[in-house]
């Protein structure tokens, strides 16, 4: 039971990281990123390929240390976001969202079909887990929770400190009125790019944290539902524009998601086999209830972000 709770916290931390990154892009800058899964996937695969031992199934055999894997998992999504940003950031609002949705599908199809690189739909197995040989497998969850939790805290501090500075004030300015911000002498395109790349790097690190926990990665994990819209749900429920809110939201939504597993013991067998669909129903209910009763999310946007100068 406790190990179940630990794994719950680890997965919650990973999703919280991705949600913080989306909050930077959407909550603070107004970038409607519908391609979170793409950057999450790039981080996951980059780290997996860099750290895996030699194999004939896919590109690999670098066997590099995990630190390099994580660095790559930040760097590759960052570079890809930079390249995508050139055309995509010229679009505003919904069109930007659709462009990223398309980019996600394109990258997902590439990963599925380029088996020399990723072993296609069979996925990558045997991804090294940090210090797995040294630590008693029964306590391994605790150790990994420290890594995942530590990265979450780092991501939280990095993003919160940045959006609390004049830099973040410009981002909020762009999300409210891009023309006015431009007339105030701020190069909006450059700031949107910075926010987009920064957020995508954090998403990549979340992806790497995921693969080194499960030790296995396949394209199924990165379908748009679980990797993109699930993160959007977290941000909307937790509180758009509030970093503490999205962390609370990540654990709450994940609790409801996995909590439906326990229901199987209490419901009739006919329902129990369809629990997957009931889970979807729950997600729909959470979203509807949130929008109806608390559209700003559990914790609302902080008004005075620049309170650190006092």
């Amino acid at each position: 039971m406790i190990s179940y709770f630990v794994s719950f916290l680890i997965m919650g931390s990973i999703y919280a990281m991705a949600a913080l990154a989306l909050n930077l892009q959407w909550g603070f800058t107004g970038l409607m990123n519908f391609g979170i899964g793409a950057f999450y996937m790039l981080g996951a695969y980059t780290s997996a390929i860099l750290t895996c031992p030699a194999t004939t199934e896919h590109l690999g055999g670098f066997g590099l240390p995990l630190v390099v894997g994580f660095a790559g998992a930040a760097l590759v999504p960052g570079v890809v976001a930079f390249l995508i940003g050139f055309p995509a950031l010229r679009l505003r609002g919904g069109t930007f969202a659709i462009a990223l949705l398309a980019i996600h599908e394109t990258l997902l199809l590439t990963v599925r079909n380029e088996s020399w690189l990723t072993n296609g739909v069979w996925g990558i197995r045997g991804i090294p887990r940090p210090f797995f040989e040294v630590i008693n497998p029964r306590h391994y969850g605790y150790f990994y929770l420290i890594i995942a939790g530590g990265l979450l805290i780092l991501a939280y501090l990095a993003i919160t400190k940045s959006v609390g500075s004049p830099w973040g004030r410009i981002l909020r300015g762009i999300s409210e009125d891009e023309d006015l911000t431009s007339m105030s002498g701020k190069n909006c395109w450059s700031y949107k790019m910075q926010s987009f790349v920064f957020g995508s790097m954090v998403m990549g690190i979340a992806g790497a944290t995921y693969v080194h926990y499960t030790g296995f990665v396949s394209p199924q994990v990165f379908n748009p539902l679980m990797s993109t819209f699930y993160v959007w749900l977290i941000v909307m429920v937790g509180g758009t524009g509030n970093n503490k809110g999205v962390i609370v939201g990540a654990f709450l939504v994940w609790a409801i998601w996995v909590g439906s597993d326990f229901l199987t013991d209490f419901v009739p067998a006919a329902v129990a086999t369809r629990i997957g669909f009931i889970r979807m129903l729950f997600v729909g209910i959470i979203l509807t209830v949130t929008i109806l009763t608390r559209p700003q999310g559990i914790l609302s946007r902080k008004r005075l972000i620049a309170d650190w100068y006092r």
């Binding site: 004049p166 909020r172 300015g173 409210e176 007339m183 190069n187 100068y309």
Partner: protein, 258 residues
């Protein structure tokens, strides 16, 4: 200071600006009047980089600024306010002003991490300056209020406050007086005049209130149908028959008889 040469701007089938040539001299408060749809706001939009002109060129301080982006034009010292007030609705009044200053250390992503101290010192200075402006506009008590809750007149004042935050060479004011309560209007106009006299700021003002524009501006440029009709002192403009016709239309009695 500002020179517009043979500027044209078309929106679909509408010729908003047609071969317009005009000049604003350094240190003046130049007025711009004209009937609705004469192209005054479009002219401002083209000058400040919001719309690209179809033809013609814009010069600011003898340098061409045609086609530059809005943020680049601001950096050269040209700012504008908007006819329909624009403010950051969710931000506080104070934050609305703090966003404006140029070259803030904290505008770079890494400053919050590696140059924290100098960033805070600069931010404190900017806050003091913003508070000074808010006190002048009699809005100091509203500094922490989200700007969307301000009444219309004070939103207009906030736009003026924004332009006081930085040292500029020229400001385009799009109806600075509309919606400002009368007891503040004199004060605002006085301040505009003071900016012009003391700091040598050049102002280009669109205004519909004839009392304001006749008292404030010399010279006055009159626009109709997207081009300059005439230019002169308030006295000349008031007695110019063409200006009166532009506002009231041609004396065409047949129209009424039909």
């Amino acid at each position: 200071m500002l020179r517009v040469e043979n500027l044209s701007k078309r929106f679909g089938g509408v010729q908003a600006i047609q071969d317009c040539t005009l000049q604003v001299k350094e240190g003046t408060i130049t007025g711009l009047i004209g009937p609705n749809g004469a192209g005054k706001t479009t002219l401002f939009n083209v000058i400040t980089g919001f719309n690209k002109p179809n033809a013609g060129r814009v010069f600011f301080k003898e340098e061409e600024i045609t086609g530059l982006q809005a943020f680049q034009i601001f950096r050269r010292g040209l700012f504008r306010t908007f006819q329909i007030t624009r403010e950051y609705k969710e931000m506080t009044v104070l934050e609305n002003l703090l966003l404006i200053p140029r070259d803030q250390i904290g505008e770079r992503l890494w400053s919050a991490w590696i140059r924290n101290r100098s960033m805070r010192t600069q931010e404190k200075k900017n806050i003091e300056k913003a508070m000074e402006i808010l006190r002048f506009l009699e809005m100091a008590s509203k500094k922490d209020m989200p700007a969307k809750y301000l009444p219309g007149g004070e939103k207009k004042l906030l736009e003026l406050g924004r332009m006081m935050m930085v040292d500029l060479d020229m400001v385009l004011l799009d109806e600075p007086g509309s919606g400002v309560p009368p007891f503040l209007q004199n004060k605002v106009m006085g301040y505009i005049r003071k900016l012009s006299h003391e700091r040598g700021l050049t102002l280009f003002v669109v205004e519909h209130d004839m009392n304001v524009i006749m008292n404030l501006c010399t010279p006055i440029i009159v626009m109709t149908d997207g081009t300059k009709l005439t230019e002169g002192t308030p006295k000349e403009i008031r007695s110019d028959q063409r200006v009166i016709q532009a506002y009231l239309g041609e004396p065409d009695t047949q129209e009424f008889e039909k």
